[in-house]
């Protein structure tokens, strides 16, 4: 430790004012404070401070994402081998590890690209604007791979990151000033710019070296039910897949053994993450809870309405498929782009869930309705807060008139 500290002390003067590398100070500072919590002491009125800082906050959120990442890697291997060579799947630790390793080999490059590209831009902006590197991207950089299909080309990931960080965040002034959630924006960008690479039945399951493996997401499968002139045989075929023995059964959807974006499939892994966020108090229970209610409410209305087989899906099942759970736990709760007031959070969360299910069922071409719903609600969040704050202002005004 003292060796590290001494080295840093030795090179630090080069980055300070008057040093040769003065301009690169924000980059140096980011590395130094990553290694060491700095020796800064309080100079303002409050002489003692809470131990928490943004690094700890972001670190904890990444920790909450780890279960999704691990299961995601495993599921990639599982989906691949269940078609390529089912005998490879064994019920012991070795089997688990091999499948996990296969998935990790596929996911790792995406994580590297996401962090590499995103952090480079963050550092460049920090140096250019002379402000410290904000930790916000640490979470975004992990979220982005988790919400992309496994066979999405790396260059699309890279391009989406560039778009999300520059247009979504830096033009507004960096982390804390953005209006939209950067990770969702990356996904939205890829979805609309390269629709063929982010939909269909080829991208959700790793192809390996073959080109024969196919796998549709649960939502993609359901979307085929609402097209014109669907044969009854097809409807029964799909619905049986969603029955208790089918590949998209409630149990499989809950555990996560279905094709989908890397981190989103397992409700169990998402719930572990949600548990970490709620226990540490870093995720808003208001948003998670009300989004769940909102989604369930909309799904129940559809169930009651029952205009097509998609709508008739059991509401719980509806919530377990697609990215719904992942999005309301990790995306809707992003404190920067969500509503900021407590009452506002309840309204915001409810509408996220409500609209998310509504979009996916009404327009099956947009299976990731929750993504669009949250992006839409990100834009609406300041308006919700405005009305909540206005109510307080009105109470204060009324006090004077009495």
């Amino acid at each position: 430790m003292s060796f590290l500290r001494n080295t840093l002390n030795k090179i630090k003067p080069h980055f300070l004012k008057g040093g040769k590398l003065e301009k690169l100070y924000p980059a140096y500072d980011a590395f130094e404070t990553f290694l060491f919590v700095p020796n800064h002491t309080t100079i303002t009125k409050c002489h003692v401070r809470d131990s928490i800082d943004l690094k700890r906050t972001m670190g904890t959120v990444i920790l909450a994402l780890i279960p999704c990442l691990i299961f995601g890697c495993y599921n990639i291997g599982y989906q691949y081998y269940s078609q390529f060579d089912p005998s490879f799947i064994t019920q012991n630790f070795n089997g688990f590890f091999n499948l996990f390793l296969y998935g990790l080999m596929k996911v790792f490059p995406m994580i590297v690209v996401s962090y590499g590209v995103g952090l480079s831009i963050e550092f460049a902006f920090a140096v250019f604007r002379k402000h410290p590197v904000n930790e916000g991207y640490l979470v975004t950089g992990m979220l982005i791979p988790l919400i992309f299909p496994i066979d999405c080309p790396l260059w699309i990931v890279a391009l989406s990151v560039v778009f999300a960080v520059i247009i979504g965040k830096e033009v507004f002034g960096g982390t804390g000033m953005n209006i939209l959630n950067p990770a969702l924006l990356a996904r939205g960008f890829a979805f609309f710019a390269y629709p063929t690479k982010l939909s269909g039945d080829k991208v959700w399951v790793s192809q390996g070296s073959t080109d024969t493996i196919s796998g549709e997401t649960a939502l993609g499968e359901l979307a085929t039910l609402v097209k014109d002139n669907v044969s009854e045989a097809h409807v029964n075929d799909v619905l049986s897949n969603f029955g208790s023995d089918g590949s998209y059964s409630l149990l499989n959807s809950f555990l996560g053994f279905i094709p989908g974006s890397i981190g989103e499939t397992s409700v169990v892994a998402v719930l572990i993450g949600a548990g970490i966020l709620l226990l540490t108090g870093l995720g808003s229970w208001r948003i998670m809870f009300s989004a769940l209610i909102g989604g369930f409410f909309m799904a129940s209305i559809f169930k009651f309405w029952g205009a097509n087989p998609f709508m008739e899906l059991n509401p719980i099942h509806q919530l377990c498929i697609g990215g719904f759970m992942f999005a309301i736990v990790f995306m809707a709760t992003d404190p920067v782009s969500a509503a900021q007031t407590n009452t506002g959070k309840l309204v915001y969360g409810f509408l996220c869930g409500f609209l998310g299910i509504m979009i996916r069922v009404f327009n099956p071409a947009y299976p990731e309705g929750i993504m669009l719903a949250i992006l839409f609600m990100n834009v609406m969040a300041p308006l919700i807060d405005h009305y909540v704050v206005q109510a307080s202002i009105k109470r204060r005004m009324n006090r004077i008139n009495i």
Binding site: N39, R49, S51, I52, P132, G281, S392, I393
Partner: protein, 446 residues
Amino acid sequence: MEVKISKGKNISLKGSAEKVCSEFLSATYSVKPVNFHGLKPKLSVKVGDSVLAGGSLFFDKEFEKIQFVSPVSGIVEKIIRGEKRKLLEIVIKANKKNRYKKYNISGYKKYNNDKLKELFFESGLWSLIKQRPFSTVADPVKLPKSIFISCFDSSPLAPDYDFILSHKEKEFQKGIDVISSFCNGKVHMNVDGDADSDFFKNIEGVQLNKFHGPHPAGNVGIQIHHIDPINKGDVVWVLSPQSIITIGNFFLTGKYENNKTIAVTGSELKKPKYFNVFQGVNVFELLKGNLKSGKKRFISGNVLHGDTIEENGHIGFFEEQITVIPEGDYYELFGWAMPGFKKYSFSRAFLSSLFPQKKLTLDTNMHGEERAYVVSGQYENLVPMDIFPVQLIKSILVEDIELMEKLGIYEVAPEDFALCEFACTSKMPVQDILRHGLDLVKKECS
């Protein structure tokens, strides 16, 4: 009236004062004009002058009748100035025996308000009265709609007023009687509803309000908000119980005797206890032999909103507590990633939340760097008022005065947001921002 407060948090630190009190006289005392926020002081003495206890040291340039007086008799030893010759501190070398300036108080009961005010101005008693909004010396022109006395302090290691005030009923009652003549409204005396205090039960001429709940329940700003909130144009006076005693004592003896009991607290003291001292006592002599080794920070006041002072500095005008805590100027390898069994946090992001310590030792480390706002919902749980703290702070950052007024800036003082500054993930200097906002509004209003 009983008020239950649910938002807020108590921070329980090591080093609370044992209920033992001893007399203490130091060689020097000081009065700091900077303790009266916004005051433009003009000196009435120079180095080498001799003053009596209760004799003027400086006065308000904008309202010259308001005098700020010496707590002891002696010789003006030093006048300390800061940047741009700003007057920081007037140090008086005390005589062995205190000689008082005698004020004529006979027949004060028949005085009308204006005449009584003159006496307050001249004798330095006016400087004991703070006003809300803005938390400054009371406006001499505008009389208050009500007067608030917070009779308990909920901040960390705070002195216990029940202990401090015992045997001073006579002075306290006198002080209440005199001060209430300035106000047509009520005098509110707010006590800790959870403590069983005998002292305050027998005081007459006040409305007794009981407050339950964690810090900042003892902050007078919170109490005003719940009992008689301030609107634009209102003025409320706030006084500490020991100021009431100084006023009461004055009208019993004719002497300005700003004598108070202070708590000497903090984890870096061998024996935290109470001392009976004159205002502005020198802390070096007071703490001699009572300090543990290591680098320390000396705070006049408490850890949440006190002022840093030198090791040989003097206690501030309104403070009734000295806190000594360790400095935290150390590096910590991967400090943000460690499990943190001993790291205190309001959040539960460290394992310390599973094994809470009963009494904490906190140092002055920032535990991170300043950032833009990212996390939301933190402040809301720490400010027990119908106020949106983050929105208010943001309105100050953009200097939108109209919005500040709408969001309730008249009702707050920096100390009411001290817990927000403590807890802030982004390490915002919340109290400084709030003070800036108050200054802006005050300037706009005058």
